[in-house]
């Protein structure tokens, strides 16, 4: 098997707050293959953003700290690098797109300048070449009249256009890996479709691996090769996209899929929500964090937090009772 481009191993990121230690990322492990599109799905507070920020060592410290684990990118541990080496990777080998295209662009710099900055820094282009490249990049992401618009400021662009600029910036140095954190959450559905098509088409063409972080299982269904579901700071299920959506083996994944109304299915009179609330990341015990909301929970779940168990071909789930989930999925939504 090919070497993974990125391997996250048993990552722990904690935030030291007045109320206590928040275990935001609590032993996350996953691989990203070159050119692969990986979906990282979970609800707010499950640690999906923090785990991605940890990859680039962008955790604000204090209060945050990566307390243990390894992040191997192209064979080297990012956590062991000095600041200079990390800066060489950020924006250059690993690009990033954030959720809020409004706040992640500098309002006092022209769009052109924001693009040329990375080009001059990482690719050592001179001013003119960088400018030329910036225009090409804007054309690539479908910005009309790119030549004139490089002189515009972010506020003169709409939300969808700003996200296109973010994609252009992230791809400007031909990164090997792109971290897209909720890239379309702030956008309308028709714009969302445009941006996702663009993002996946470009990265497929360039052979860039992508991690799409989202709370919406629907968004990644069309594009992801593999999907990781996170809960309480851990990956609780990982599988290829068709396998995950059709044969979920973790009660949480099953619950997530059942709780959203679907346009292609017969309308149900009532939805099947996951009862209860997400866990408190400060006071965690040794048991499975999903246990209080789980219909499959048994005594063992109170004392032992299940590791990822192989439940099929390239399919793992962190549940002691996954056999029961397979045999009687309907009881989860009874």
């Amino acid at each position: 098997m090919a070497e993974p481009l990125l391997a996250v191993k048993d990552l722990h990121t904690q935030f030291f707050t007045e109320e206590g230690v928040v275990n935001a990322v609590n032993g996350v492990s996953y691989d990203v293959m070159p050119g692969e599109i990986l979906g990282l799905v979970g609800e707010s507070g499950c640690g999906k953003t923090v785990s991605a920020l940890s990859v680039l060592r962008l955790i604000p410290s204090p209060p945050g700290k990566i307390t243990s684990g390894e992040i191997i990118f192209e064979g080297e541990n990012i956590l062991k690098m000095d600041e200079e080496e990390v800066r060489h990777i950020r924006g250059n080998k690993i690009g990033m797109i954030f959720q809020e295209p409004m706040t992640s662009l500098n309002p006092v710099l022209t769009i052109g300048r924001q693009l040329t900055e990375t080009l001059e820094l990482h690719l050592k282009l001179d001013k003119q070449a960088a400018n030329q490249r910036a225009i090409e990049l804007l054309e690539m992401v479908g910005i009309p009249e790119a030549k004139g618009r490089v002189h515009d400021y972010p506020h003169q662009f709409s939300g969808g256009m700003r996200q296109r600029v973010m994609i252009a910036m992230a791809l400007s140095c031909n990164p090997k890996l792109l971290l897209a954190d909720e890239p379309t959450t702030a956008l309308d559905v028709t714009i969302q479709a445009q941006i996702l098509e663009l993002l996946t088409r470009l990265t497929r063409e360039l052979g860039t691996a992508v991690i799409i972080i989202t709370h919406n299982l629907g968004v990644v269904a069309r594009y992801a090769d593999r999907v990781n579901v996170m809960y309480a700071g851990r990956v609780i299920e990982t599988a290829t996209a068709p396998e995950l959506y059709h044969n979920p083996r973790h009660p949480y994944t099953l619950g997530l899929l059942a709780s959203v109304p679907r346009l292609d299915q017969i309308r149900k009179a009532k939805l099947d929500p996951i009862e209860g609330m997400p866990p408190d990341l400060i006071h965690m015990d040794d048991g499975c964090p999903f246990r209080p909301r789980c219909r499959f929970a048994v005594d063992r779940c109170k004392t032992e937090n299940p590791p990822l168990l192989s439940v099929g071909n390239e399919h793992s789930a962190a549940c002691w009772e996954w056999e029961r989930v397979r045999k009687e999925p309907d009881t989860a939504v009874a």
Binding site: T190, I191, A193, G218, Y245, H246, L263, P273
Partner: protein, 346 residues
Amino acid sequence: MTIEDRTTAPAPTSGDILVSVKDVRMYFPVTSGIIFQRKVADVKAVDGVSFDIRKGETLGLVGESGCGKTTLGRVVLMLYKPTTGSVLFQGKDLVTMKGGDLRRMRRNMQMIFQDPYASLNPRMTVGAIIAEPLIIHGLAKGRKDRNEKVQELMQVVGLNPYYANRYPHEFSGGQRQRIGIARALAVQPDFIVCDEAVSALDVSIQAQIINLLQDLQERFGLTYLFIAHDLSVVRHISDRVCVMYLGKMMELADRVELYERPLHPYTKALLSAVPIPDPAVESKRERIILTGDVPSPLHPPSGCVFHTRCPIAIDECRQVIPEWRNIGGMGNDHWVACIRVGEDQK
């Protein structure tokens, strides 16, 4: 697209119209100058909209951001006084109503807001928040009665009454939304405008709140105007659905009709853009990807406002404002504003 189980949706008793919106326009002036302000333009947030809401039904209102759906919701509750047009509530025109009459009328109409963090006063206890409308409208006799009512309301929305003395920051997003719902229910309204009431919540919590809203509707015979941008959620909760674009109505029909036989090209594009959590279904789906952005409501396009992004627009669309017409059959309304719909039958 799919087969619909009609038995799960009791048909609203048609005929009983609770709210009637007639040719409402809401223009916000754009001014220039600091001392001598002059009006330079209008933002046409809502531009000539008419529809009825039937008693006991849920009318879904969908559209992209900036299409005027929130403004319309606020106009219906008279939180904005419309530039022209009328809003009839139980047959009485709210636009011409004033002072005490309007305030008394407001008791029957409530709103649930999008942001459960911003819509609750952080310095009031949950009990005080829910009790406030009871005090304003004089609905409780003394403190004991009021406290009992608050406890009952908290129970109704699934909150532990024991928490009445806590503050909003001690609750999660889903619980706060329950507080907002309890506050809206306190005055025993007939009509509630839910403005993106579940959009800010996580999916597993979203489903809890949607179920709660449906339960409450059955229990208290409520009528909802459910404003949202998520078409799957709107389909789930609504009896009829109306689609807005740039301040205008594009299409309005029964839920089954709209989702299975959408007629307007905008509705079709919206529906095809909704992601479905199933890779097998997604890989076979045809998508209509609209190009460009929603134009500015300051300078809306001529003719049909959608023609700049419409895949089937013709020259005529640039000039003619499409008529808002009902092309449905007997007892089956289907309103649409597009000159190209039904062309082939001509």
